[in-house]
């Protein structure tokens, strides 16, 4: 890139002012243009590779990229007659390597890493030292024995220098290959951890030998060797400290980004990159710095930043790393074409290859033997084979060899050629064969399953048990210290580095639970009602329902209630459908109800004008249900009259209140919604009906709906339309209108229209003395999906009923019963004296009338309802988290402002 830049500058100077309307400004954009084009090519190549599943299954991507690079390099060479592009070491170390290391450090499973820390350190330090010295000495021996060409002008120090750069296992190459192989975690973490942590050793050895070579062997004093050893500790410990410092800073900063969520992800990258640059600046191990920075900050940063930022960080990191990796491998290929840089010596190449393989294997076997004396879970033979074979060399070695000073290191060109060959051999040949090898050796693969709450609970319990056993046995082993550390972390560190809200709910089990919940919710919405990961939370099928005491349930609702509850209930009402575990219902729902999830806003700002065909169809649905309901209603009508006026009074009050503050909760701390149900105020009916209406219309439009969307809807409606509704609230005011055209009256525009219709129309259908009950039945049914129509009015449109796609709407209504029903039960239990609740009880038959028998059963017994309730409670907490954890347009946003965690 530097070259491009300089070219650009020179050409820019030579430019003459040009008066042409269309200017050719290639020089101006050349630099960035080329970079972008290269990235484009690399990314397109990736797409191409992955078009064929067969190819990528066999050949690792890194191999393909190198080959592509070779091809492109060849083309460029043929076209320009000079090798144009090179993997520039500066570019590599400053820009390409950091994202890959960051990605691997940040997403490194820290627990696994520290569990195997001993083994990793051993391989990284002792293994690398062993490899570089043995390779260096052996090559020197070959040179002495005269097998190598005399032209290779190198002494012992040169070979040791070469050995140091060629011996380091490369994180990029290892990651690229091992990611696709899926060996078991332990094996992976050891090889990969080694490749990251050996950086310090490599850097030190490289620098020490390089300085020795440049000083000349004669000038090296014994004290320099000790300096070399000392500098190892400085470089590695220093790099780690730099990393930890920046991790701490990053965690601390992320604690205070609540108001500026948008730059949260930026901080992660900035500080980690700063750590990298700082370490480079101090000539410490930058890879170590970034690895530890990423490793250590993750826990706190993830807890502090928002869900969206988390996703952003994740994707940006992965994207950057992927691009960097692609470019590295491609440029490796391209660089290899540049024959002017290297001179081939067969003996050197062959012996280097032989030595790095053999000594790696010997080193692994020796170290594994030592480790197995201490490891509880030994590294067996197969693991050792894979570890030896997985020692891939990569771009780090190449960049280091390019950086050699050709004037001092006479054999540089030979070393370059050898390095390129070694890198190509390890990446291509070993990369290609490692998969079959792993398969052939039956290496234990990683079991990739989603985390389950059970597992998390058990593993947590496990840690404590093991720590306790160590304590009881009086030995401070690994578990003991880990337990101690966790305790310290929880007591002090987390408290310092985590937001209060995050710290409060920071817990592994809780995290898994939360994650599963969110995943379920997402998949639920994505699937339009189907929940794939089965009954993670569908506590309807919860077995020991007897143990849910009524008290705890109501308490739960109270605790979790208030604003967010709205969202919750929306989910819950829909969810409870699933809870019935009726597959037929599922089919109906997915077939007819919820499909995609956007388009909410069109509904949100929908004007009454758009109410047309669909609404007519809704009318029909409503009519059918109404008629049925009316029939059943007749049996229960008597008991409801006395409370009518009172209820209405209440309703007016609650309405006013709503106007004041939509999200207010009533004094007893219960969510507003519950109250609405309790006092069968029309407003509640309206909310529900509007809600439902939206549902239906969306159903018809096939637009789909999400709980998010609906939640917003609800909140909105609670606030705004009530004033509108006042107009038509009183049943007696409005004379019966002959048609359902009423809904198109201007005063009913926007959201308030249909519900208003509902209440006025109800009066028409139901005799005055039944109205209260009627309202109740509606509210409890929660199924006022559509503008109501009297029976008389029904007649003309009845014909259209047939046009209606048959199974959809009816089940929808059935589904709707569940929610109010369950709430009623709650109500009933919390205050029995309420006449309303008695009414509701009376109305139970009516409610269950339309259910299929399986629904009816569960509805009729309070006991069976509890699980649903319970489920709801857990929903609340989920939603709380959802809402507080994200800035998404969750509907509950406005309503949740009070309950923000």
């Amino acid at each position: 890139s530097k070259r491009w830049c300089s070219e650009k500058m020179t050409r820019k100077k030579n430019d003459r002012p040009n008066e042409a309307p269309l200017k050719w400004e290639w020089q101006y954009v050349q630099g960035p243009y080329l970079i972008v084009v290269w990235i484009m090519v690399a990314s397109l190549a990736k797409i191409l590779f992955h078009l064929s599943y067969k190819v990528t299954k066999i050949v690792p991507e890194s191999c393909l990229l190198i080959m592509l690079g070779l091809g492109l390099g060849g083309i460029v060479l043929a076209a320009t007659n000079k090798p144009e592009y090179q993997l520039d070491p500066n570019l590599f170390f400053l820009f390409l390597l950091p994202p890959i290391v960051l990605d691997s450090g940040y997403f490194m499973p820290s627990r696994l890493f520290f569990d195997n820390f001993g083994a990793i350190m051993m391989f990284a330090v002792i293994g690398t030292v062993w490899n570089s010295f043995t390779t260096g000495f052996a090559l020197w021996g070959i040179k002495m024995s005269g097998l190598m060409s005399d032209k290779v002008d190198a002494g012992l120090m040169d070979f040791l220098l070469f050995g140091s750069l060629i011996s380091a296992v490369d994180p990029v190459a290892v990651l690229a290959v091992f990611e696709e192989v899926h060996v078991n975690e332990t094996l992976f973490i050891i090889v990969f951890g080694e490749s990251l942590l050996n950086d310090a050793v490599t850097v030190v050895l490289y620098k020490v030998f390089n300085s020795f070579v440049e000083m000349g062997t004669i000038n090296v004093h014994p004290v320099d060797y000790f300096k070399g050893i000392a500098s190892f500790f400085v470089v590695s410990v220093g790099g780690t400290i730099v990393g930890l410092f920046f991790a701490f800073a990053l965690a601390l900063i992320s604690r205070f980004t609540k108001r500026v969520r948008i730059i949260e992800p930026l901080f992660v990258f900035l500080l980690v990159y700063l750590a990298y640059l700082t370490a480079e600046m101090l000539s410490l191990s930058s890879i170590l710095a970034v690895t530890f920075c990423g490793l250590c900050c993750k826990k706190y940063v993830e807890a502090n930043i928002s869900q969206k930022s988390r996703t952003t960080v994740k994707y940006t990191m992965k994207t950057l790393a992927s691009i960097a990796e692609t470019i590295i491998f491609m440029f490796l290929g391209i660089s290899a074409v540049d024959t002017s840089k290297w001179i081939w010596d067969t003996a050197l190449v062959l012996f280097t290859l032989l030595f790095i393989l053999v000594f790696r294997a010997i080193g692994v076997i020796l170290q594994a033997w030592v480790l197995n004396q201490f490891r509880i879970y030994p590294l067996d033979k197969i693991d050792q084979v894979v570890m030896s074979y997985g020692g891939l060399r990569g771009a780090v070695a190449f960049a280091l060899v390019i950086l050699l000073n050709g004037a001092k290191v006479k054999a540089k060109d030979y070393f370059v050629a050898t390095t390129i060959t070694v890198v190509f051999f390890t990446v291509i040949f070993q990369g290609l064969t490692i998969k079959p090898l792993v398969k052939w050796l039956k290496v234990k693969r990683a079991d990739q399953h989603k985390p389950t709450i059970n597992e998390e609970i058990h593993e947590r319990a496990f840690d404590h048990i093991l720590a306790a056993v160590e304590d009881i046995a009086g030995q401070s082993g690994y578990h003991h210290w880990r337990d101690k550390w966790e305790h310290f972390d929880k007591r002090y560190l987390s408290q310092l580095l985590m937001r209060k809200s995050a710290y409060r709910i920071k817990d592994d089990i809780w995290d898994v639970y939360h994650k599963l919940n969110v995943r379920d919710a997402i998949s639920y919405v994505d699937q339009g009602g189907h929940v794939l990961s089965s009954a993670k939370m569908s506590l309807a099928s919860m077995p020991s329902r007897t143990s849910f005491s009524e008290n705890s349930v109501t308490n739960l609702i109270r605790e979790n209630g208030s604003g967010v509850c709205l969202d919750l209930q929306v989910i819950d009402t829909v969810r409870s459908i699933r809870d019935r575990e009726d597959t037929v219902m599922h089919h109906v729902l997915t077939g007819n109800l919820y499909k995609p999830r956007k388009r909410f806003h069109s509904n949100y700002s929908r004007h009454f004008i758009s109410a047309n065909e669909q609404e007519r169809q809704e009318c029909e649905v409503f009519q059918r249900n109404m008629r049925r309901r009316l029939e059943s209603f007749k049996s229960t009508k008597h008991n409801v009259y006395p409370t009518k006026s009172k209820a209405r009074h209440k309703r007016d009050k609650s309405q006013k209140k709503k106007n004041n503050d939509a999200n207010d909760t009533i004094p007893n701390g219960k969510p507003r919604r519950n109250i609405s149900w309790q006092n069968p105020a029309p407003i509640a009916v309206e909310i529900e009906s509007e809600d439902e209406e939206n549902d239906n219309s969306e159903t018809e439009k096939d637009e789909g709906i999400t709980f998010v969307a609906r939640a917003a809807d609800e909140v909105f409606q609670e606030r705004t339309p009530s004033s509108n509704l006042d107009v038509c609230q009183s049943p007696c005011v409005i004379p019966p209108s002959p048609t359902c055209a009423e809904k198109e009256l201007p005063w009913k525009g926007r959201q308030g229209d249909l519900p208003a219709c509902v209440s006025s129309e109800t009066t028409k259908i139901v005799p005055l003395d039944m109205q209260q009950a009627w309202n109740q039945s509606i509210s409890s049914l929660e199924s006022l999906a559509s503008p109501p129509i009297t029976e008389i009015q029904l007649q003309p449109t009845l014909a259209e009923l047939d046009e209606f796609p048959s199974p959809g709407p009816t089940p929808l209504h059935l589904a709707r019963f569940q929610f109010p029903d369950s709430t009623l039960t709650t109500q009933h239990n919390s205050d029995d004296e309420s006449p309303d609740s008695i009414q509701q009880q009376e109305l139970q038959p009516l409610v269950s009338y339309e259910r299929p028998s399986w629904l009816g059963q569960s509805a009729s017994s309070a006991g069976t309802r509890w699980p649903v309730q319970f489920n709801r409670a857990s929903r609340v907490s989920l939603l709380k988290n959802l809402v507080s954890g994200s800035t998404s347009n969750l509907g509950g946003q406005s309503s949740s402002s009070q309950t923000d965690l």
């Binding site: 509880i376 059970n454 048990i465 009881i472 046995a473 009086g474 639970y513 919940n517 020991s544 143990s547």
Partner: protein, 218 residues
């Protein structure tokens, strides 16, 4: 050998070693610890565990200590708690945490696995009815979360986590349940099923037991 004054003699050591799978050195070490905890008495009581100060911060301390006094964890078929345990019983409980031997047949591993799981199961099954009921599970989760002052108290999260876990377990074991089917609790077979994905035999062990002479005897 013979470092402890009231410890078992060589023959007893051998027997214990055969029974529990510990090496003689390990047994001696553990015996020293046992003496230390019990103040050189023959038996160990619950109160003696209070002296292990490191245990204080352990959220599931009670269950773990109780496991030492649970008859189910000794070889016999009896159930119920005991008041005090002797060294052999102490050793038997400890032996559940002994790591895998270098060479073990599949069967041995399987039986070891079952043994370890049984121990865990007993620990979770607080009321010793052979089933981990929802109550038991909640209790466990509550204890686990008790370190967190905010989550632990919030019974909603505890119960919902426990319930979700239980439900998940039920789903794994039984698949979908009928609405009215009642699931009383995990039996041991169910418990084994849940653990299928986790190779407990490689996890449930404590390193020090493998070391011949531990240095940190307090």
């Amino acid at each position: 050998m013979g470092a402890s004054h009231s410890g078992p003699d060589t023959r007893e050591l051998r027997e214990l070693s055969e029974k529990t799978g510990f090496s003689v050195d390990q047994i001696e070490n553990l015996n020293r610890r046992f003496q230390q905890l019990s103040k050189n008495k023959e038996t160990l009581r619950r109160e003696d565990f209070d002296k292990v100060t490191d245990l204080d911060v352990n959220p599931i301390r009670a269950q773990i200590i109780e496991a030492f006094f649970d008859k189910r964890n000794y070889s016999g078929m009896q159930t119920g708690p005991v008041e005090e345990i002797n060294f052999e019983q102490f050793l038997t409980v400890m032996s559940h945490f002994r790591p895998l031997k270098a060479r073990m047949t599949e069967e041995q591993i399987a039986s070891l696995r079952k043994e370890k799981l049984q121990f865990l199961f007993n620990m979770y099954d607080i009321d010793a009815d052979g089933k981990i009921s929802l109550e038991d599970y909640r209790h466990l989760v509550e204890d686990l979360l008790s370190r967190n002052p905010h989550l632990g108290k919030e019974s909603a999260s505890v119960t919902s986590i426990a319930d979700a876990a239980m439900l998940e377990a039920v789903t794994i074991i039984k698949g979908q349940m009928e609405p009215h089917q009642v699931y009383e609790g995990m039996t041991f077979e169910d418990f084994v099923k849940i653990w299928e994905g986790i190779d407990i035999e490689t996890k449930m062990h404590v390193r020090f037991l493998n070391v011949e002479t531990p240095h940190f005897c307090k």
